[in-house]
């Protein structure tokens, strides 16, 4: 009658999900307000404005800003991957191991890409 238990590896993914969820809860509304409201509403032309090419490169000139940018994108991806996986299960979509690895695989790919791209950013 006794039940046998095997240790789950969920903590790994849950911690990434939680970190992403926390970061998103803290600043995501503000970031969306910036890209979707403040930046478009500020007068801008091809070579001036808040999202001007040279200006954004200057913003992300420092290694700290680059790491934060990549980390932010990566954590959002891990957060979303984890929740989408569970959402599929909740809605009766049982993708098995394939679905699991495509969710977390996508998050890992986004993380690698983000990490690589901030390294490749040209200096202003």
């Amino acid at each position: 009658m006794s039940i046998r238990f095997r240790r789950s590896h969920e903590p790994l993914f849950w911690l990434l999900f939680g970190a992403g969820g926390l970061v998103a809860a803290l600043v995501l509304p503000a970031v969306v307000v910036f890209t979707g409201l403040i930046a478009p509403l500020t007068p801008h032309s091809a070579d001036a404005g808040l999202l001007d090419y040279a200006r954004v490169l200057t913003l992300f000139a420092s290694p700290g800003a680059r790491a934060a940018c990549a980390g932010f994108i990566a954590l959002l991806a891990w957060h979303a991957a984890h929740r989408i996986l569970h959402l599929c299960h909740d809605l009766g979509v049982h993708g098995g191991a394939g679905l699991k690895w495509s969710c977390y695989g996508s998050a890992a790919a986004v993380s690698l890409l983000a990490g690589g791209l901030v390294v490749l950013l040209p200096s202003p």
Partner: protein
């Protein structure tokens, strides 16, 4: 031991049974918008690395009517996410303080909101005035 004969209902459409379940699914569905926004930012990063012309077209997409509409959706999702995240946070953090003088749920949630306001303002300040 033999078990008695039983009948059991299946779980098809379980969210129809209670509005609380639909609120839960709405909270979980915010992740789709958040994931999409992460992809949008990743694309922006790629365009930024690729040069001024790709960056210009990414900017055009982000500021196009469809781009702005989608971001309005992401904003709604982000707000639902923040509200639910900070409301549930006290259930997840270990008890703060000594037995008998534990920090209450409202204090934890409020502290999180203050932290959110401070971080958001600092980040916006950097994004607008940083360079």
């Amino acid at each position: 031991m033999t078990r008695p004969a039983t009948w059991q209902r299946d779980m098809r459409g379980w969210w129809r049974r209670d509005p609380a379940f639909r609120r839960y699914l709405l909270r979980e569905a915010t992740s789709v918008a958040i994931g999409g926004y992460a992809l949008m930012l990743l694309a922006g990063l790629g365009c930024l690395a690729a040069g001024p012309a790709p960056w210009q077209s990414w900017q055009g997409l982000v500021m196009s009517p469809i781009g702005l509409l989608l971001q309005a959706l992401v904003f709604a999702a982000a707000v639902i996410h923040s509200v639910s995240w900070f409301r549930l946070m006290p259930l997840t953090v270990p008890p703060v303080g000594r037995p008998g003088r534990r920090l209450g749920d409202t204090a934890i949630s409020s502290a999180a909101w203050v932290a959110s306001a401070v971080c958001s303002l600092a980040l916006l300040g950097w994004l607008v005035y940083g360079a």
